[in-house]
């Protein structure tokens, strides 16, 4: 009966890269070499919160400061049925799914957040799941909104680009695939933890060392953003569609693109 599927943006709105990644993850596809998590400039605006303060909570404890987040939306594909005698296309919503939560931080991850990223990047039979929340605070540090997630795995990590000529802050992006999400108002569980701030990532502060090429790579002037994507057949599935027996099957790393002054590039050809 249901013989045609459309995405919610079938009215002509451009699909975001994030939506593309969610779809690619669901299909188990690998998109190597391109952008990983973050949308290209000019793409449809994601719901990034840039005012106030944002924090990450993992397993009930404050785990770090965020510079933005998006996703965590429950959505379903619109299923269009074959028109009947009245020529009207009947529609209904297909299986619900949870869009990945993408969090960005301009500070080096520490504590449980660092441990979670580290253990997720290591090839293993079962990847760690964590529950927590992205919390929005007002200017006084009081919690105003809470986006809870449970049993999430890290499905992608994008390391920030580097550029010795730029003085801007850079940010690390992490994509989470939760099993369940809920959005609530602020609670009085705890306030903003200013003391938990760690070092800020800057585009111009980096050092690249590759064994045998040190003389060239330490002079690198730019490194493009690169990342790791953890792919499983169930990536993107959630709720009813989630298969508890599936685990990530591929840890795919994107290419590394480095720009080096020609004056120091000779070791590349040695």
């Amino acid at each position: 009966m249901a013989n045609n599927h459309e995405t919610p943006n079938h009215w002509g709105y451009p699909a975001t890269r994030r939506r593309f990644l969610a779809q690619a993850g669901a299909a188990g596809a690998l998109a190597l070499g391109g952008g990983w998590i973050r949308p290209a400039h000019g793409a449809q605006a994601m719901r990034f919160v840039t005012s106030g303060l944002i924090g990450l909570e993992l397993d009930g404890a404050f785990a770090g400061h965020l510079s933005g987040f998006s996703g965590g939306i429950v959505a379903g594909d619109v299923v269009v049925e074959k028109p009947g005698a009245d020529l009207v296309q009947r529609k209904h919503v297909g299986n619900p799914r949870i869009e990945p939560i993408i969090i960005e931080t301009s500070q080096a991850p520490t504590g449980p957040f660092y441990d979670w990223i580290k253990s997720s990047l290591q090839p293993q039979a079962a990847f760690p799941r964590k529950s927590g929340a992205v919390i929005e605070f007002d200017a006084t540090g009081q919690e105003v909104r809470r986006h809870n997630f449970s049993n999430a795995t890290i499905v992608a990590v994008e390391f920030p680009s580097c550029d010795s000529a730029r003085r801007e802050v850079s940010s690390l992006a992490v994509s989470l695939a939760p099993e369940h999400v809920s959005h609530t108002g602020g609670t009085d569980k705890g306030g903003y933890s200013a003391a938990a701030k760690s070092g800020r990532l800057m585009q111009s502060a980096f050092r690249l060392r590759i064994m045998g090429l040190e003389q060239a790579t330490v002079r690198a002037s730019r490194i493009d953003a690169f990342g790791v994507k953890i792919v499983s057949a169930s990536a993107g599935d959630a709720g009813y569609a989630r298969d508890y027996t599936r685990q990530p099957s591929t840890v795919a790393t994107s290419h590394l693109v480095v720009t080096i002054p020609d004056a120091f590039a000779a070791p590349l050809y040695a």
Partner: protein, 72 residues
């Protein structure tokens, strides 16, 4: 290994260990593209099999010599 450094340019805030790199393309890049003035740049593209985050000591256990592209 790629280190994201603190403003003192000495302390590593985050270390990304890169394993089994291989250069597959080197191409010239104009000064405008590279953001430099009057300098020529090379753009080196490498595949990478896996990464980890952690200390340099942890990386030593897994580090291998990178494959290289030969000019001839």
């Amino acid at each position: 290994m790629l280190e994201y450094l603190a403003p003192d340019l000495q302390t590593a805030l985050l270390t990304v260990n890169l394993f089994n790199l291989g250069i597959f393309r080197i191409s010239p890049e104009s000064a405008e593209q590279a953001g430099g003035e009057g300098m020529a740049f090379s753009r080196m593209e490498m595949y990478c099999e896996s990464v980890s985050i952690g200390t340099a000591m942890e990386a030593d256990a897994r580090r291998l010599e990178p494959a290289r592209l030969r000019r001839d």
